[in-house]
Amino acid sequence: MAATPNRPLLEIDNLSTHYVSAQGTRVVRAVDDVSLRISAGETLGIVGESGSGKSTLALSILRVLPPAAQIVSGQMWFENEDLVRKTDTEMRHVRGKRIAMILQDPMASLNPLFTIGNQVGEPIRVHEGTRRAAAWRRACDLLKAVRIPSPETRVTQFPHEMSGGMRQRIVGAIGIACEPRLLIADEPTTSLDLTIQAQYLSLLRDLQREHGLALIFITHNLGIVAKMCDQLVVMYAGRVVESGPVSRIFNAPAHPYTKALLNSIPRMTDNRNRLTAIEGQPPDLSSLPRGCSFAARCPAAFDRCHKETPPEFNLEGGRTARCWLASVAMQSGAA
């Protein structure tokens, strides 16, 4: 069952996920009115600083949120089915089979007590009812696919016998075991070294091409986005402040936060010029200020920004931005 051509593979509309403290007094709006879409074969990057709600968004898609969190509103259409309305049993058939996920810490994602072959073969056994021996053979193939040398001996080994880079690739192998349509990678390379990271990224790109995977890449590193992604979603304080095709955003960011972020990053080729820093710090998600959440740090903020929350404006070229300035630009562009 493939997605209809006019409909993206995954379409999220106005999704909000909140954490509510035990006493019910503190509500953290970790994901607030987020909309995004991704088509088959595409790579979508989600960037944002720590605590901006990226992981919560990923967990919401798979509906594996911690008990304190709750999807309060919105829809998630995946291959024409609304994930929000699915029962837990139905979701179990989606997770691991049609949508898979790779997490940051490869050691925490692997069980130290089981062999690699066992763990790579597990999703195949669970979702396809394959026999153990067949699953084992498939595990060998998968390890080969993620370029692990001599997979026949590796399948019999345990996670602690592998290096960090190899473990992360094994987690990747588990992710693609059932040939999912969508792979969500939550900062999969933060624990890797530069040269190992380069290997891993090129591997992910090849896998994606071969299997026609859609890939959601969560990171706080704009460099990875520049290298890997077609589409970009920038999150700030739980909201999507800007989205659109990567090269367009890099060439002409519409939101002041994106602009500031791009300017604040040191460049290899630049000599010792001062960086343009973003002053201040991100707001507390449980007590967001009135108006635009970036207003306090925004160099271009004006009266309206402090009073009214900007909605998501649709700009040309499939871009969106949550900024009053974008509305001005849009009108002048239309005129």
Partner: protein
């Protein structure tokens, strides 16, 4: 003359807020029980209706007032020597409190200091202290206490020292473990770079960070210590008679249990249980409260 142009906005001081919210969910029941016991201990001279150590042999084995034969003069009855049970319980609270707290503090200070030394200095200091601790922990606490008591002879202060000697190892263990992880933390490394001596680092950087665990452990140990004191008194090697100690009362009353003098054992038993339970509840609450990781939940 600030060189960075930005203005840095600090969050409103959170210390006041968190102090208030920290008091919000105090475990009231154990605190009230402990407060009542402490109150009795402090004002025993005023509160107790009779002298706890002298009784009238004419008035032996009087039951509590609500049973036939009981009088309002001895609300909770009298014991085999005609001493007022209520007065003995009240003065017994003093003994339990004094023995409990001093022993716990004594053990805590010794254990914490040795734990810090072992953990921070490492090397042979660690080897020596931890081998002693291991050997100590291998001895059954009660047997060891009886053995010591038999050597030094029974007296209230001897009991305190004995209990301290028996239980310091628990602190040393816990504290050393904590120090081992603290000493790898960067603020300790920076203190070395700043030129602080080992003694200064242990006092200023290590000690304040292990005090929490020591306090939690102390609260939990309070129960254990009181039970041990009671057991020692029960076995006759604890607080010497006629001083009123709850364990001693329990021991003296045990023959009477079969012939229906239940109040001689049940009442001190209840007191011990309440105090131990309160100490443990309070300790558990403190443990959760002072552990930043658990506090987040």
């Amino acid at each position: 003359m600030s060189m960075s142009s930005e203005t840095i906005v600090l969050p409103p001081s959170v210390s006041t807020r968190s102090a208030a919210s920290r008091l919000g969910d105090l475990p009231m029941i154990p605190i009230i029980i402990l407060a009542v016991i402490a109150f009795m201990a402090i004002f025993a001279d005023v509160l107790a209706p009779h002298n706890p150590e002298v009784g009238a042999l004419t008035a032996r084995f009087k039951p509590p007032f609500w049973q036939t034969g009981g009088t309002m003069d001895h609300i909770l009855g009298t014991d085999q020597l005609g001493r007022d049970v209520l007065s003995r319980l009240i003065f017994g609270a003093r003994v339990s409190m004094v023995v409990g707290f001093t022993a716990v503090i004594f053990a805590g200070v010794v254990g914490t200091v040795l734990g810090i030394l072992a953990g921070y200095l490492g090397g042979w200091a660690d080897q020596v202290i931890m081998r002693i601790t291991d050997a100590w922990l291998a001895l059954p606490a009660l047997t060891f206490a009886i053995f010591l008591a038999a050597i030094v002879g029974p007296s209230m202060w001897n009991i305190v020292i004995i209990l301290g000697l028996v239980y310091w190892t628990r602190y040393a263990r816990v504290v050393r473990g904590e120090v081992l992880s603290l000493k790898e933390r960067e603020f300790v490394r920076l203190a070395i770079v700043a030129g602080c001596s080992k003694a200064t680092i242990m006092r200023r950087h290590i000690l304040p960070n292990v005090v929490n665990s020591a306090i939690v452990l102390a609260t939990l140990m309070l129960g254990v210590v009181i039970v041990t004191e009671a057991s020692l008194s029960f076995l006759g090697v604890g607080v010497p008679p006629p001083k009123p100690a709850w364990g001693l009362m329990l021991s003296d009353g045990k023959q009477g249990l079969m012939v229906g003098y239940w109040w001689l054992t049940v009442l001190p038993g209840c007191c011990i249980m309440l105090m131990v339970l309160s100490a443990n509840l309070l300790g558990d609450w403190l443990r959760v409260k002072l552990d930043p990781q658990l506090r987040q939940l």
